[in-house]
Assembly symmetry: C2
């Protein structure tokens, strides 16, 4: 069945970066990081149904060359093709993407492009899809880049705040409250870690005893968030299983972590598959100290300060949203 | 330093049964089951420091013969010896125990004896220990029976309700709210499963992918408890890792589980190391149907109905408490 088109022709949506795993919930938890993100502008083009990617911009030409423009291989393209398929739309989407998130940074760039596209496209439809349906399309899109179906970046990117992705098929997500004072320090060192590589190095098995300790951390962390108990969050926000394996890919990681914790961070770990790292802090002042100490640790590991990006933002921020419309 | 004795000579405390693991949090979660439990009566005996176990009663002579009366091997004895050691008390404790929980039933009997003893003994001291200290003593006691240090039974037994044991050393426990309407159906089939045996059959490793699915369940379950979201609890309350291994030790388990879920249980699994099984339900009417269906499944597996014990109780119940004092 075809959709009736509104007078709006072109919609632009912003989708934030996100920190997958959140240290303590590998492939389950994630939170939005709203001060950076990707932007997608989508138009509805009268038949035939299909997706055309007209432009991708915002990052270096070398990085851009690595993003496929074939819609069947592009995260945003696949998400919109799923949307067309779900309602057998008769028209097609034309999309342009402005990346604000570097490729292979571990900040959920694939998810952000996918989510920005579905949020913009959805605003063009007379009968919009539900949030759960949008999640499903965006997860399908993001899986093209990550190699597996996970909602730990897509869910916070779309919904904002901290989320637990309980199941990717069917999609099942719960939002977890975050104490209002919590800020996230996010630092992106100038190295590239591909998600597929970071996933491939993980041992396929975990000791049962390690799983129990990690479960205890997860239980403590989620309880700490619901109870606004910063001490509990501090005692629980750790990754005993994946971080020790992946941190080898990030020069200076151990020193950066030690410095962040010494300077008052509640927790510190790898953002998604890395190489970006993040800390939770309970004030802007602590955040600035932690940011400086982490940047210094990466400089000590041989990186140039001018090539290290860093940001501080509240964790309980907004998710993806429409930021502009053009009518014609 | 010695303690000044109050005029109270003898105190009796009741400690409830508890359901370790609570399906979804192996070795971490547990909840109190307040309608059955063990009772300990403790007197403070002027020097020398030490523990004397005068009587253990309440269960069959064959089972009683398997409980050591040597305080260094007895869960309650070890807990009280730890208490004496912690403050270098100059006097000794004399203790008698009335078991209301069968040995090897998976209902936290070792924890209950240990907790009842420390709660009763604590009431004899002019300067009582904190709850965290009592937890520590009781965990030390319970570990004599279970072979390892875990607070997943001791914590709910002492504190009541649902708890997550984040760390056993140092002790770190958080209480998780349970929706008020939740009841637990607990069924004890007439077979014995020793905790040490149930632990020994577990594979030492877990697939990382299985850990992720189990983590998602744990995150959903704890969120569901904080949000009072019964649908979320129903979708999350499952054990993908330990239950499939241990359920082999319980004839009729699969049929009992299927029957419980068909009759409306939110979740169903093994209580602790088994053989007892439990279900969470959201009303007394569902509870009665679930209880009858589980009992029938065990009968179909060849057990005698008269030998199957079953109870229904609220999950958010009280923990251990003093129930009597004798002065002389």
């Amino acid at each position: 069945m075809g959709q009736i088109v509104k007078s709006v022709r072109s919609v632009t949506a912003f989708a934030p970066a996100s920190v997958g795993n959140a240290a303590v919930g590998f492939d389950v938890l994630g939170f939005a990081f709203p001060v950076i993100g990707d932007t997608a502008t989508v138009s509805l083009i009268p038949g035939p149904a299909g997706v055309e990617i007209t432009e991708i911009s915002g990052i270096s030409p070398e990085a851009l060359a690595r993003i496929p423009k074939d819609p069947q291989l592009n995260t945003a393209g696949v998400a919109l093709l799923k949307m067309i398929e779900a309602r057998q739309l008769r028209d097609g989407f034309r999309i342009s993407i402005k990346k604000g998130i570097e490729l292979g940074s571990g900040m959920g760039g694939s998810a952000a492009s996918s989510v920005a596209a579905v949020v913009a496209a959805n605003a063009l439809l007379e009968r919009p899809f539900s949030q759960a349906e949008l999640l499903d399309f965006a997860v399908a899109g993001e899986s093209v880049a990550s190699g597996s179906r996970h909602a730990d970046n897509v869910a916070p990117c779309l919904m904002g705040g901290l989320t637990a992705a309980l199941s990717a098929h069917p999609i099942d997500v719960v939002k977890i409250p975050v104490p209002a004072q919590i800020l996230c320090v996010l630092v992106h060192p100038p190295i590239v870690v591909e998600t597929k590589v970071a996933r491939a190095i993980l041992k396929p098995d975990v000791m049962l005893s390690a799983m129990v300790r990690q479960s205890a951390c997860l239980a403590g962390f989620i309880s700490g968030c619901f109870l606004s108990d910063l001490g509990l969050i501090r005692r629980s926000m750790m990754d005993l299983i994946v971080e020790p394996q992946r941190s080898q890919l990030i020069p200076g990681f151990d020193a950066a972590k030690a410095a962040a914790l010494e300077n008052g961070a509640l927790g510190f770990s790898i953002s998604g598959a890395g190489p970006s790292v993040f800390a939770w802090v309970d004030s802007a002042a602590v955040g600035e100290k932690v940011r400086a100490s982490v940047v210094k640790a990466f400089c000590d590991a041989g990186m140039k300060e001018s090539e290290i990006d860093s940001w501080i933002a509240p964790v309980g921020g907004a998710g993806a949203k429409v930021v502009g419309e053009t009518r014609s």
